[in-house]
Structure formats: structure tokens, C-alpha cells
Amino acid sequence: MKFAVLAFPGSNCEMDLYNAIKDIIKEDVELVSYKHDSLAGFDAVLIPGGFSYGDYLRSGAIARFSPIIPALQDFAKSGKPVLGICNGFQILTEAGLLPGSLQKNVSAKFICKTEPLVVNNNHSMFSSEYKAGQLIDLPIAHGDGNYYCDQATLRDLVANDQIVFKYQNNPNGSVDNIAGITNKQGNVLGMMPHPERAVEAVLGSDDGKGVFQSIVNHIKSRGVIYE
């Protein structure tokens, strides 16, 4: 199967994702520029962290007008997996592919550290490798990671089982300790923590491998690779 890793001006985790897929998950992977307008031939799309366009207006607000975004929207509509990490999550909310938005951390500061997460839902295509309720350690590194949505949206998220990861010790003020959510269809996941930074024990944790492995299993278990 083949992963696409999108790269926007100002993205800075695209190589980390690329290396994680290539060296650790050992699947095909290609960097795709924001200038392209097609995602044909890919089975899953990863949107990396970083500061697209400097995150100058709001995180992700400018990137969502990139030429690749219509192709991403079609890709998401087709039901194939899309994973946005950190800035990728912010882009997905700005592009309307995920509900809610990401505000400044309550501390008003950037925070980089490893946080324990609870796997809230292990039947998504991004979390099947984990046990329900499993505690995993993933690094966070963000200034705007405080997930916000209104109460009605939160009720929907809960009712549809869209909350995949929760923080154990909410580091940023997110509503309901949310660290990662999917869309209603379940094929678009946005998460603030960085699984690609936790794929080798030598870097402190390999708990993040499960996210990518879950995607691979999902694709491969369908028997057919998407055309």
C-alpha cells in the first residue's frame, strides 16, 4: 500500500512521518506537494505537523486554500484514511473536514513533552492495534492544541464514538480531554499528539506505531487495495 505525506510551506514534520512509514512501518510512502491537485494512487493520506504559512493568522487557516485541498476533500469523501497530526489536525478543522477548532493552550505557551493518552475507542481504522482503554505515551508539541467545540458537537462526538484519544492529564485545556477525533464516517482522524515521534524505543517510546499499523491493517484487511 502507499501513503501520501502532504507538505505545505511551513510544514516541518513531513520528513518525520516519511521516515516513520518508510523505515519503521516499512510501507511505500511519497511526499506530495501542496501544489499538486491529485491524490490518485494513494491508499492513505498523512498531513504533518509544523507551522503552515507560519500559522500566522490562525493555525491551518491559510493552508486550507492550497491546490491539494480539493483532492484531499474528495479523497476523504471516498472513505479512505486521512490522518492529520498537530498542524495537520488544525488544517482539517479549518478545511471543515473535522468539527471544532484548536485554540491557544490555556497556559498560552507552547508545550513539548510526552503525555499519557487513553485509547478511548479502539475500533477506528487508526486505533485497532490498541486495546480499549489502553494507556499510551505520545509526545505533544504545540501552542494551539486546546480543542474546542460547542456542547451539541461534543454530544455528537460522544454519541458517534468519534473520540479516539483522550489526555490523561489534560495539558492544554481541551474540551472533554480530547486529544484526537474522527469525522462521523470515521475515516478522517485529527490528533494533536505526534505518533510519528514515538515509533522507536530509542526515542523514548514506540507507542505511536499502532496508529500507522492500524491504518495498514485496515487497508490490507479489505483484501483489495484501493484503485
Binding site: P9, N12, C13, M15, D16, A20, G54, C112, R197, L203
Partner: protein
């Protein structure tokens, strides 16, 4: 076109001479005389005076420090490129070079903390990638006064926020640094940043422009009126009378820098045939980058058309265009005929790039503006013929007739003294600072901040780089020479504790006014001490930076030569951290404990000052101890290693318990006071029981067994005349909470 035009709105050459206007730009009468009589043989116009003031500032010319810098030990069989304007390079095998350099941004940060810090980070990164290296890690070395007022706290937070904003955005991990607090830095904080890059050795770039007809290409942000004449500004000193100097503020734009960096690396890696030279626009902006490039090429001149320089504001003068320090700009020299190829690369990356001039016959540096020749000077006169001053040196008063006795700490309750020590800001955890830095982006950080040196792996190879910054200005204040040697030794001790062997150093020489003999003495002596140590550790100086005039109302800071050291770890299994790992491991102190109290944290804590003759330091013994620890690590005898520095042995023991919340049960043939001694050349290590015999055989009398690691969360240390007794989590809480509490 032959006569040099002066601009009507600007002072005339005669006015400049008669009213000594050059003085306000930082040139002395003597220097003005040199320009007029020896270089130009005519009166310089306003623009030309500006060019010289920038280029002959300390920042660009090193006119006061050159004779001192010559004393540095810079050789070594792995040095590929030593000190010059850019960063130095050391061969680490496999056709790879490590590139590193440090930069000070003290004065801009004093004026505008957030932007001063951001532009400091941006500047050092440009130094690295203009060599053709990809930056892989940054460090920050900070010195502040003890925060007292809200303004002090805000200032510190803004510095940290600036470093965080720039490094995080551009995606280069800030993996460590050092932070110390002392009122010697009131009004004159130190903000030093260091960056480390990695490159293939067959891709070295030099900042030179050779070959008549080749094009000079301007890259990056437009030029604005921000930071005009910052280079001469940095070479001024502050005092309360000079508030009006405070206008040279530049804004950093890490997003633009990221685009510029990727584009430049693309040109260097994939269009090297087209590229002749590349240089960042740092201090003294366009004039410095272009004149240095022209001068280094040798034998040619250069002509620039300032009308082609991208401008953010209307009506900028030639002076402003040449001396602006707008950020995120680079200058390239490209072979004639290859311009379009290179311009296309920049366009693809969304970066402004435009041809603004050419390499010419002759030796002159000519500037055209609005169709007129506004400057015409020999290119070498700007870049390499600045005057050099051999300053007078005289021992400062405070070093004469000093008390040779060591301070005697007063300790009635050892545990209470330990608790007080752990809450000293210089000793306390810096986590609240470094948790705002992205330490992991690029996914190579194996040891993040919190241990001795940071460790960053070289992906796809079984090797890693260890990086540290260190210096204790108090030691230098009491003895600049020994203190300089100690700074290098402490850096090496951190490198060694992490499992690495020192490769080399960079530095930021933060000193006072070199025109004052007692302050020049500190600089000169410190460099001699550093160089002695560098030679012993076979760690040459490959780059560095000088920041002079760090004084306020005529009181200088402590002499503070920041040492940034990089070491190589051959084999990832040699990586060692400071935390105790397992209960029952045996704890040793390696190296002799001597009375080391003058200049120590405990002297400062108990008396509010430092004084007396600095304690002794034996460089040969230091080297011997470090080699022992390296051997023990390479023979896999150690589970942890931590160097002993500020706060002494007991502080190092406490710090080693924190990571895994393991306790200790130790006994030593020392007094409780000795536990706070800062005598050098010591480590605290833990050894698995089965390796105990082998370890003792290796170290002989150079290590003392203290006892064991225990898993009951309890620190107990018995001394001859008392004991320390404290829960680890209690100690940890004090140590971790002190800084955030004082900055609230």
C-alpha cells in the same frame, strides 16, 4: 559618472568632517582619518561613512578582539574548516561533517526581548545553512539577574518565548542550553544561541564571489528600515543616558526563514555548478555580506545597483539600504548564464530572489542608486583592512590582594541547606523553560534537555552527537584564566558524561569594554585559559562570536565566555544519562573533593556575594578523570554518569535521583560542607553490582564508593559531621517548582 555623488538630503562630506558626524555612527577620529587619508585620499560621503562604520564595527571587524582570537587553539586532524566568518566544520567520518557556531544577541534582546531572541536564533541558523549544512539542533545559553519585579519576570518570559517561537516554527529542535541567574547581568542579560548542522563534506560552500561577470543575487525578505546600523549599535555600550539608542528593532519571521533555508539547501545540493558563493546577511546587512564576499574572492571588484534591491518602504537612502538588518536575507554569487536556473529554484520555493549586481574588473566596490554612483571604495578596505587594536591589559583591582582562604560554609542543618540549595534559581530545574521548546522535531533527539549533554543521533548511522553549553561567570570574575579553562572543562565533562568524546568548541565571548585595560585583561586571560584547556582536550575552537561592551553605567558583567561543545558518540549503546537506573547499583564519586568555595553557589547563597581567591584547578587531573569515565562508559561499566558542578556533590546526587525517583543510601568520608564544594574534575556514577570489581580495577584510587541506589524514594547521605535526609519527591518538588514559582 566618475565623481562620487553625495545626496542632497544627507550631510555633505565637509559637514561630516567639520561636525565629526562620523562619531555618532561609531567611528573614531583616528578611524575617520584612516578612511580619508589612507584609503580614499578624499573625503568620504555619507553613504561611505556608513559603510565603514558598519564594517569597521567590532561586530564585523573584530578590531579589538582579533589579536586575542589569534591565541585560540584551532587545529586538529578532524578540523575541515576553522574560524572564519561562517561556521566551522569537523569531519565525523562517513563523508559527513558537523558544522556549528554560536551567536550572541545580548544588546538587541535587552532592548526588545522577544524579537531580540527570535532574530538571534534566525541569524545563527543562516550561518549554518549558508555552509551547505542542514541545521539539526539548537541550544540557548541565558544569563539573567534574579527576577524581582514583574518587569524582570516578563523580560525572561519574553526571551524564552522568542527562542521558542522561532525554533519551533522553523522545525529545528532546541535540545538544550544553560541558564544562570546573577545580578551581575542586571541591565545586561546574555542571550547566546548555538546551532549545529550536518552536511556531506563534498558539498562545502564558501562565501566568496569570484569571476568577472558573475551575478550577485539577493534572496529573501525585502529590505526595510528596521535595525539600521545594528552592528555599530551592538558595539556601543548601554547606560541610562543613552536610551535614545534603543530603536534598532528587527522582527523575525521563521516562516520566511524556513522557505529561504529549504531553497538555499536546494541550490547548494542540486545546482552547485551554478553557485559560486553564498553568504547570510547578518550584522551590517547588505554591505557586510557583499563586501566580505567580494573581498574573499580576491582580485575583483563588485558593483551593485541599489534600485534593484527589494524594498519594503519607499524612499530609502543608500545608507539605509546598505546597513539595514532586515532579517531572513541571503546573498549569492552565481555564474554568469546560470541566473535563471537559480532564480527558478527560489521561485519554486516561494522566495523572492533578484539579481542586484555583478562581479567587476578592478578592486572597487561601487554602489549605484537612482542612476548615480553613491559609493566607490576599495573592496578590501571594508572587509579586511579595518584597523586592529592591541589594547592595554591590566589586572583589575578586585583581583589584587585577594583573600586566599576558602570560604567556610555555615551549616547547622544539612538537610535544610540542601533544600535551600535546590531552590536557588541557578541550580533549580529549567524544565519550565525547555518544555516550551520543541525538542523532538526531526525525530533524532535521544537525550532531550534534563541530562548533562543533549544527544542527537545521526540517522542511519550508529553514531550520535552530544551537545552542551557551559560557563560560570563567577569563576571567571575571580580568576579569568582558570575560569576560562574551567568553562571548557565543564563542557567536556558534560560531553563525557553523556558517553561522547569532545570534537571541538564554539564560543561567545561576552565581556565588557576592551578599551578599559582591566576589562581587556579579563578577555585576554580568559581566552588563554580556554585555549589551554582546548588543547588538553584536543577540542579545537572552530567558530565563535564576540560580544563586547556588556556593561551598564560603567559596571561590566562578569566575564562570560560561553562554551558550546560538540562531542561524538561512536555507537548508540554508549549513550549515558545522569539518572540512577536501578536499585542496588553501586554509587561512586570519581575525582577528588577539595575545598572549592570561593565563587561557589553556597558562598553566594550564604553571603550574597562571591569573593576571595578562586579554588585551584588542575587541568591534567581533569583530563585524567574524564578519560577514566570515558573508558568506563566504553567498557559498559556505568548505568549513569553525571558531572559535578554548581551546588557540588550533594546537588549532583540529588539530581541523579530525580529522573527515576530512586533513592540512595550513601556514606562518605567528607564533612557536610564538603558536599557543597565546587572543586572540579568530578563525576557521580552508578555501577551495576556485577561490574563493581571491574570498575574498581579500572579507576583505582580515583573513585570512592559511597553506597547504593535504593528504591524507597529516600535520599540519605551520611557525612562525618552530620547527614542529609530527605524524601526524593520532596527534593524533586522544591527543585522543579522553584523557577516557575519565581517567574509567576
Amino acid at each position: 559618472m566618475n565623481s562620487v555623488m553625495d545626496q542632497t538630503t544627507e550631510a555633505t562630506p565637509e559637514q561630516i568632517r567639520d561636525n565629526k558626524l562620523y562619531q555618532s555612527m561609531g567611528l573614531t577620529d583616528h578611524e575617520y582619518g584612516l578612511i580619508k587619508d589612507d584609503v580614499l585620499h578624499r573625503l568620504p560621503n555619507y553613504t561611505e561613512v556608513g559603510l565603514f562604520s558598519g564594517m569597521w564595527s567590532e561586530h564585523c571587524s573584530y578590531k579589538n578582539s582579533k589579536p586575542v582570537l589569534k591565541k585560540f587553539f584551532t587545529k586538529g586532524k578532524h578540523v575541515v574548516k576553522g574560524p572564519g566568518e561562517g561556521a566551522g566544520i569537523i569531519d565525523i567520518g562517513d563523508n559527513q561533517g558537523v558544522v556549528f557556531k554560536a551567536e550572541s544577541h545580548n544588546h538587541p534582546s535587552a532592548v526588545e526581548p522577544f524579537q531580540g531572541a527570535t532574530t538571534g536564533v534566525g541569524g545563527i541558523l543562516r550561518d549554518i545553512f549558508s555552509m551547505g549544512a542542514r541545521p539539526i539542533a539548537s541550544m540557548d545559553s541565558l544569563r539573567f539577574a534574579e527576577p524581582k519585579t514583574d518587569a524582570d519576570k516578563y523580560f525572561i518570559q519574553q526571551i524564552v518565548a522568542g527562542i521558542s517561537a522561532y525554533g519551533n516554527c522553523i522545525g529545528i529542535p532546541t535540545v538544550g542550553g544553560d541558564t544562570a541567574f546573577d545580578d551581575a547581568y542586571a541591565h545586561n542579560p546574555l542571550v547566546n544561541v548555538m546551532s549545529v548542522g550536518l552536511m556531506d563534506l563534498d558539498k562545502i560552500e564558501v562565501g566568496a564571489a569570484a569571476g568577472v561577470g558573475n551575478s550577485i543575487i539577493y534572496v529573501g525578505h525585502k529590505t526595510g528600515r528596521d535595525g539600521i546600523n545594528g552592528a555599530s549599535f551592538a558595539s556601543f555600550q548601554f547606560d541610562s543616558e543613552h536610551e535614545s539608542q534603543r530603536s534598532a528593532v528587527q522582527v523575525g519571521d521563521p516562516f520566511e526563514e524556513k522557505l529561504v533555508m529549504e531553497a538555499c539547501l536546494d541550490v547548494i545540493n542540486n545546482h552547485s555548478d551554478a553557485l559560486v558563493g553564498i553568504q547570510d546577511m547578518g550584522a551590517a546587512g547588505l554591505v557586510s555580506s557583499s563586501a566580505e564576499m567580494g573581498s574573499k574572492a580576491g582580485g575583483n571588484g563588485m558593483e551593485l545597483n541599489l534600485d534593484l534591491v527589494p524594498q519594503r518602504e519607499a524612499g530609502m537612502s543608500a545608507f539605509e539600504l546598505m546597513l539595514s538588518e532586515s532579517q531572513e536575507r541571503m546573498l549569492l554569487c552565481v555564474k554568469a548564464g546560470h541566473e535563471d536556473e537559480v532564480l527558478k529554484v527560489f521561485a519554486d520555493h516561494g522566495v523572492n530572489a533578484v539579481v542586484i549586481g555583478h562581479v567587476t574588473e578592478g578592486h572597487n566596490y561601487k554602489l549605484m542608486h537612482h542612476g548615480k554612483l553613491v559609493a566607490d571604495v576599495p573592496v578590501d578596505s571594508l572587509a579586511s583592512q579595518a584597523p586592529v587594536y592591541h589594547r592595554e591589559s591590566e589586572m583589575p583591582e578586585h583581583l589584587k590582594n585577594v583573600d586566599t582562604n576558602q570560604y567556610q560554609p555555615k551549616i547547622t542543618n544539612p538537610t535544610e541547606t540542601l533544600k535551600e540549595m535546590l531552590s536557588q534559581l541557578t541550580i533549580a530545574s529549567k524544565e519550565s523553560i525547555y518544555e516550551t521548546y520543541d525538542t523532538q522535531v526531526q525525530t533524532n533527539t535521544i537525550v532531550a534537555p534534563g541530562s548533562d549533554a543533549a544527544v542527537v543521533r545521526v540517522r542511519h548511522y550508529d553514531k550520535a552527537l552530544a551537545i552542551t553549553t557551559d560557563v560560570n561567570g563567577r569563576y571567571l570574575y575571580l580568576n579569568p584564566r582558570e575560569g576560562g579553562a574551567m568553562a571548557v572543562a565543564e563542557a567536556a565533562r558534560n560531553i563525557v558524561a553523556s558517553g561522547a568524546v569532545p570534537l571541538g568548541i564554539t564560543d561567545c565571548l561576552n565581556f565588557g569594554n576592551p578599551e578599559k585595560p582591566d576589562q581587556f585583561y579579563e578577555l585576554d586571560q580568559a581566552v588563554m585559559g580556554m585555549t589551554e584547556a582546548c588543547e588538553k582536550f584536543e577540542a579545537p575552537v572552530i567558530s565563535g562570536n564576540v560580544s563586547l561592551n556588556n556593561e551598564y553605567d560603567n559596571i561590566p558583567i562578569y566575564p562570560t565566555p560561553m562554551v558550546g561543545m560538540v562531542g561524538l558518540i561512536k555507537g548508540l549503546d554508549h549513550i549515558t544519562t545522569q539518572d540512577f537506573k536501578h536499585a542496588d547499583d553501586v554509587v561512586y564519586v570519581v575525582g577528588k573533593t577539595e575545598p572549592g568555595f570561593n565563587g561557589s553557589q553556597i558562598q553566594k547563597m550564604q553571603t550574597g556575594q562571591i569573593s576571595g581567591k578562586l579554588f585551584d584547578f588542575d587541568l591534567d587531573y581533569e583530563v585524567k578523570i574524564q578519560k577514566l569515565v570515558t573508558a568506563a562508559i566504553q567498557q559498559k561499566l556505568l548505568n549513569s554518569a553525571h558531572d559535578i558542578s554548581e551546588g557540588g556533590l550533594i546537588t549532583a546526587i540529588a539530581e541523579s535521583t530525580f529522573g527515576n525517583q530512586l533513592g540512595v543510601d550513601l556514606t562518605a568520608d567528607l564533612t557536610v560542607a564538603d558536599f557543597f564544594s565546587e572543586s572540579q574534575s568530578r563525576f557521580i556514577v552508578s555501577v551495576p553490582q556485577e561490574k563493581q570489581a571491574e570498575f574498581e580495577q579500572l579507576v583505582g584510587n580515583d573513585a570512592q564508593k559511597l553506597g547504593k541506589v535504593v528504591d524507597d524514594n529516600h535520599l540519605f547521605v551520611q557525612a562525618n559531621d552530620g547527614y542529609f535526609d530527605l524524601d526524593v519527591d520532596k527534593a524533586f518538588g522544591i527543585w522543579k517548582g522553584a523557577l516557575p514559582c519565581r517567574l509567576k
